[in-house]
Amino acid sequence: MLNPQLNDDSELKHLLSIEGLPKRILNQILDTAESFAGVAEREVKKVPLLRGKTVCNLFFENSTRTRTTFEIAAKRLSADVITLNVSTSSQSKGETILDTIDNLTAMHTDMFVVRHAQSGAAHMIAKHVAPHISVINAGDGSHAHPTQGLLDVFTIRKHKPEMHNLRVAIVGDVLHSRVARSEIHALTTLGVPEVRVIAPKTLLPQDVEKLGVHVYHDMNEGLKDVDVVMMLRLQNERMAGAMLPSAQEYFKIYGLTSEKLALAKPDAIVMHPGPMNRGVEIDSAVADGTQSVILPQVTYGIAVRMAVMSILAGN
C-alpha cells in the first residue's frame, strides 16, 4: 500500500499521521522548526516562504490553541489565511465535508489544515483533493494529531537532546487520545528506547502494547526513573459513563502531584498538550512548577507548524 503522505520522490506531500513517516522526515521537520524558532524574536516576525499561497484552516471541531497557532504560523510565513469553523456553518446546512473542500478548492486554496471529530477525516480529504493541494491533519477523532506529536518531541529534544537514552511516560486517557498516538509514534520512530503508558484498563486501547509501549496501571511503578512525563487531558464526558467513577478518584490515583513526580528522575520534565484540567489530571503545583515545560510547548508549536507548512510548500 502506498503511503498517502509521501509523493513520488518520497518527500512529504501531506501530514496526516506520524505513523508511517520515516525518521529522516521527522528530523527534517524538527531541524527546520529549530531555524524558525528565532523568527518570533525578531522585530519583523515574518519570512516570505508562503507568499502568494492560501492556507485554509478548516475546523469541523472546536479548538483554540491549535487553530490559533496554525494561523500565526501561516501568517509568519506570509501566507493568506482563511479560518473556517465549519461546525457552525455549512455542516449544519447539510453540506458534506468533501463538498466544503471542493468549494474552498475553487477559491484556489493551496493548503488545508483540517480538524474533525472522526478518525480518518484527514486521510479522506487528502485522497480527494487535487494533486497540487496539501493537507495537514490538525486532529482527527482519536486517530492522530501529528503536529502536536512533533511539537512534543521538539520540546523533549530541546530539553533532553539524547533521545536514544530516554524513558518517557504518557499518562491518562490513551484510548481516546489522538495526541497520545502521535506522541508514541514520534518517540518510537526517533529511537526513544522506552515509552510507557500509564492508565486504568478502561482508558487503554485493546492491544496497545503492539504500538511498542510498555503498559503500567500503577503510577508509582510507571513513573519510576522516567525522564519525561507527558500528561493527557481527561475529557469531562469520560466521567459520565462507566470509564471512571469520579474525577476525585482519578486524581487520587492517576493525577500528577509533586509526590508522584518525585519518583521520576530529579531533572524530569512535565508536559501537557492542553487544555489542562487542574486538579483532575495534574496538580497546579506541578503544572506551574519548575519541571513544567507546558508553556514552552505552546511557543514551539508555532515553529513546528511553520516548519511543516514550509516543507509541504517546498515539495
Partner: protein
Amino acid sequence: MKIHIKNGHLIDPKNGIDAKQDIYIAAGKIAAIGNAPEGFVANQTIDATNLVIIPGLVDLSARLREPGFEHKATLESEMLAAAAGGVTSLACPPDTDPVLDEPGLVEMLKHRAKQLNQAHVYPLGALTHQLAGKEITEMCELSEAGCVGFSQADVTIKDTQVLWRAMQYAATFGFTVWLRPEEPYLAKDGVAHDGEVAARLGLKGIPTAAETLAIASILRIAKETGAKVHLCRLSTSEGVEMVRSAKKAGQQVTCDVSANHLHLTDFDIGYFNANTHLKPPVRSQRDKTALSNGLADGTIDAICSDHTPVDDDAKLYPFAEAEAGATGLELLLPLTLKWAEENKLKLSDAVKHITQAPANILGVEAGDLSVNASADICVFDPNQYWKVEAKALLSQGKNTPFLGLELAGKVKYTLVNGHVVHG
C-alpha cells in the same frame, strides 16, 4: 425449450458428480445427465468446453433494497447482478423499509421478483414487529406468504425474554430463526475489530466477546426452547469453536460466513478504506484462519455474499460514518474459488458451500442437479480472470473491498427454470 449443455465439467456435490458430463434440459427441468433422453432434440446447444457446470448458487444473504431503498439498488438491478454472479436462489433479510413484517409486503416482493423471471427470491420475515425486539410477528401468516425463516437482520433483540418467546413460538411451528450474533452493548458505536488496527487508527472497537456472548445466549435459549437456529456471519475464532462444540453435542444449529470474511482482516482497512466497513467487522488473521478451517471441516455450513449495495455518496464519509456494507452477488463465486485455491481444496468441496449446504438451510429444493430438479444452473470459466471495478459490476452498488483485484472465475451462463437469464 430444450437445452443441451455439452462438453463441460459437471460438479454436483449432492449427487457426488465431478466429471465431464453433458446435461439435458426440458420443460424447465433437468431431463438427464450424461446421455440424452430418447428422442431429445435440443432447441439450443451450449458448448461448455473448458467450462464448469454447477448447480445455480444459493445465497443466504442478499439485500435487494426493495422496498424502501431504491436509491441504493432496485430489484431489477440486483436480479441482473444475481444472474451475472450465477446466483439462482437467494434469501433476503427483512431490513427493508417498511420492514418485512406483514404478509402483504412479502407477497408483493415475491410477486415483483417472480415477474422479473430471474433468481428465486426467498424472503426472511422479521422475527419481531419492526425488528424492534418487542413483539413477535405473525410467523404463520408470513410463512404462508412465502417467508422461509425469521430474522432480525442486523438488529439485536436486547430483551432476552422476547428472544426466548420468539424462539418458543418459532419452534412450535418448526420455523428456523436466523440471528447475527452480536451483543448490542459491547458492540455499541463500534466500527472495527477491537485489536491493534483499531488501536492505531483510533476507531471504536467491537470486542470478540460481543459475538461470543451473543452466541452463548442464543445457543442456550435455542436449546431450552427447541428452536432451530441459523447463526449468520460468524466472524471470530472463538465463535467458530462454540458452534463446533454445540454441533458435536448434537444441537440443531447451522451457520454461515460471508465471502468477505474469508479473505479480509482488519489490516485491510489500510488508511481508513470505507469499503472495508462491514458488519460484523473484519477481524484478525487468527480469526480469518479459524473461519476458513471451520468452513473446511463443516462447522460452518455455507458461504454467503452478504450482498449490501450502498450508494457511492454514503461511503464518502470518514470511516465510522460511512455506511457499512459491500456489494457481493457477483463476487460470491470467484471469492469461493479463491478460497478453495488458497486452501488447496477440491472444487466440489468448495462449491458445496454455495449450493447444496445453503439450500438445505433454506429448506428449499435447489442447489443440486438431480434429474427432474428445476434447471437452475451456473456455467463458468474457472480460468478466466476479470478485474473487479465499477464498470464490471451490474449491481447498483459498486462498493467492495475487492475493487481493483483480479479474480478468477467468470460466469458464462446462468439458467433459472431452464431459461438462460445470463449469457
